[in-house]
């Protein structure tokens, strides 16, 4: 991606939580006001640093869920039961609290719609977050090339941004969205009902367009399966961009 290299050191900024949006029982979006925020590109992440009174610190990375919007940054965070940082962010942080963050980070996993090439997205669980920033950005552009998303979650209730995604797809004939639920389906479910596989990706994405760029994000093993499947379908490895969340997610 021939984006401009952003030069300069990263500084920690103090951001204030201005709104907390529940997304699913385990996921909330944190709307932050970050004075001095330099702006970002869809797909980038931030480092969040928490400091205890005795100086103990914990630092984690979280994807930005929204396109550039001045000094406003939205992070969507999933509570990991054995986590140290995410339970604090999801359950204990209150509007008005301040946390330190630095960013934006990462120029590799970004899409800013500069070309009209097809955009192919594959999300597992909270891996939808950076891809949502791309889809929201794309909707804001007005004119963009075709796009498709395959989104895998365990249950319907764990699909993040479900209503907004359905609305985006309904409003845009060039956007195709398919869900797959791997653990539990509601009665009458018409989406996929299995783990992602090459057949599913081929059906939804419509085959390996040589101009398409694919972005895959989710837990490490999900990403490996999806990326292997895409390369097997004929995508050039260099056009399959991956972001593994690791075992514990972001």
């Amino acid at each position: 991606m021939a984006g401009a290299a952003v030069l300069g050191r990263l500084n920690w900024l103090l951001a204030e939580l201005v709104e907390l949006v529940p997304e699913t029982p385990r996921v909330k979006s944190l709307v932050l006001a970050a004075p001095g925020w330099p702006g970002h590109r869809p797909g980038q992440h931030v480092d969040v640093r928490l400091t205890a009174e005795d100086g103990y610190q914990a630092q984690r990375s979280y994807s930005i869920a929204t396109p550039p919007d001045g000094e406003r940054v939205v992070l969507t965070v999933e509570r990991l039961e054995d986590g140290e940082v995410s339970p604090f962010l999801v359950d204990e942080l209150l509007v008005g609290d301040r946390i330190e963050l630095r960013g934006p980070i990462g120029g590799y996993f970004v899409w800013d719609g500069a070309d009209r090439a097809p955009l192919h997205l594959v999300a597992g669980g909270s891996g939808i977050v950076p891809l949502m920033a791309m889809l929201r950005h794309r909707a804001g552009l007005g004119s963009a090339g075709p796009a498709a998303l395959v989104y895998s979650a365990r249950t319907e209730g764990e699909l993040i941004y479900r209503e907004e995604l359905d609305r985006l797809a309904a409003d845009d004939g060039a956007l195709r969205i398919a869900y797959t639920l791997t653990r539990e389906r509601p009665p009458g479910w018409t989406g996929y009902d299995r783990r992602i596989d090459p057949g599913m990706l081929g059906e939804v994405l419509g085959g390996a367009d040589p101009n398409a760029t694919a972005f895959v994000c989710g837990p490490t093993r999900f990403v490996e399966v999806a990326a292997d499947a895409l390369v097997g379908l004929g995508y050039e490895p260099g056009r399959v961009r991956t972001e593994r969340f690791g075992p514990s997610g972001r």
């Binding site: 300069g8 980070i105 996993f109 837990p219 093993r221 972001e243 690791g246």
Partner: protein
């Protein structure tokens, strides 16, 4: 949990690289000194759950770059990389 879960993408270490180099390094192209494969640093394998940060070649698993940081010091071993290609603009 399997160890395979600990593998991340180079992009996950973008903040650390930017802190060290003062530049966006994930789009820098690195040549593996072992197998010769060329990839953007964002596409390398990265292991962060360790005493340091280790970048490996996703093709042959050779160690490309290692970073260790103490409170006020940092050590960097780029010896597994044979070449870096940076964009300098027009």
């Amino acid at each position: 949990m399997e160890n395979a879960d600990l593998k991340l993408d180079g992009n996950a270490a973008a903040g650390e690289l930017r802190e060290i180099f003062g530049a966006e390094m994930t789009i820098v192209r690195a040549t593996c000194g072992s197998c010769g494969a060329v990839r953007e640093m964002g596409a390398l394998s990265v292991y962060l759950h360790a005493p340091g940060t280790v970048f490996r070649c996703p093709g042959c698993d050779a160690v490309l770059v290692r970073i260790v940081r103490a409170e006020e010091r940092l050590w960097l071993d780029p010896s597994g990389v044979s070449c870096l290609e940076l964009r300098t603009g027009a």
